[in-house]
């Protein structure tokens, strides 16, 4: 097994990590300090645009990274690809859960005002839960196959299926149904309700959170590489003993 430094550029990782920390700090400052036009019902919660929406962009970026490595795994059979696909999916699900949780809170105090409802099976939310369950099944599938090579192949094929369902479950289907979520049937889309000044913070926020994904993902890849080396060491020690 190769050293971590041969697979990852650790110097670049540290530089990007520091940049992401500074960048996201500025995003949070901008999110709270920048004056925005008043939006009916939304009031200040319009600022959630800077936090809730980038979570989904990050999930999609993570899913694409994961699918890319799954594809490369099928081409090359390199175990590093399998490991990268797994960790990208793991961090991606984490961002998806954060997106869902922030969405529930946001909806509670805008859509469901005065009803004490937290969840009402809005199509957008329901489909998002299905998408996260599809990614959850990816890990169930992994744990069910013992042989690493077979597991890698089966998981890679499933992962490619999972990424294909994403645009439909996250975009196409909820937009055809009656949903309170912006962009759905009967609700204004992003470009209609977002004042240009909010894009000043929104786009940097998307970049910042995808950067945060990249930092967490790289940490997990380093961890998984280390795990593999420990396992290999243990195996060789056992062999030497017998």
């Amino acid at each position: 097994m190769a050293e971590t430094g041969q697979i990852l550029n650790l110097r670049r990782y540290r530089q990007l990590r520091n940049a992401v920390v500074v960048w996201l700090t500025l995003v949070v400052l901008g999110a709270f300090l920048l004056r925005i036009p008043r939006i009916h019902i939304l009031e200040h919660t319009a600022r959630n645009l800077y936090f809730h929406v980038p979570m989904w962009f990050t999930l999609m970026a993570a899913a694409l990274v994961s699918a890319y490595h799954s594809l490369r795994y099928l081409q090359s059979g390199d175990p590093i690809r399998d490991l990268r696909a797994r960790e990208a999916a793991r961090v991606g699900i984490f961002f998806g859960l954060l997106g869902l949780a922030t969405g529930i809170v946001w909806a509670r105090f805008t859509w469901y005002l005065g009803t004490s409802l937290w969840w009402n099976f809005d199509p957008k939310q329901s489909f998002v839960v299905i998408q996260l369950l599809i990614y959850g099944a990816y890990f169930v599938l992994r744990s069910a196959v013992e042989d690493p090579e077979k597991r890698g192949r089966v998981a890679a094929v499933y992962n490619l299926f999972a990424v294909v369902t994403m645009p439909f479950l996250l975009y196409v289907l909820p937009r055809q149904m009656e949903s309170l979520h912006p962009g759905a049937e009967g609700s204004p889309a992003f470009s209609d309700i977002t004042h240009p000044i909010m894009r000043l913070v929104f786009y940097p926020a998307v970049i910042g959170f995808i950067g945060l994904f990249w930092v967490l993902y790289t940490q997990r890849v380093r961890l998984a590489l280390l795990e593999q080396r420990v396992e290999m060491l243990q195996a060789t020690m056992l062999e030497a003993k017998s």
Binding site: R38, H44, F109, L113, Q219
Partner: protein
């Protein structure tokens, strides 16, 4: 489920999605109860705070999980393979 429709109270109506005046409008018809009384104060700014805190604690939770995995690896290296890092000890 009966969802209450919030009617527009401004004279101009909703000609544009956003108004230009930033003033507390009397949108809800009845005074907020319970948790809404807290969250709707300051033009709903505390909802944003809640969302930021969810993300913050989420990242911390993830960090702790990574930490736990690191601990396990360190223990595995120390206990099961003492020869592997014998030269690291003082």
């Amino acid at each position: 489920m009966n969802l209450q429709v919030l009617s527009d109270t401004t004279e101009a109506g909703l000609a544009t999605p956003y108004d230009t005046i930033w003033a507390t409008a009397a949108v809800p018809t009845k005074p907020p109860q319970g948790i809404e009384r807290v969250m709707l104060a300051e033009d709903k700014l505390y909802v944003v705070l809640a969302v930021v805190l969810i993300i913050w604690f989420g990242v911390i939770f993830f960090m702790f999980r990574t930490d736990r995995k690191l601990d396990r690896l360190e223990r595995a290296l120390q206990e099961r393979i003492p020869e592997a890092n014998a030269d690291l000890r003082p």
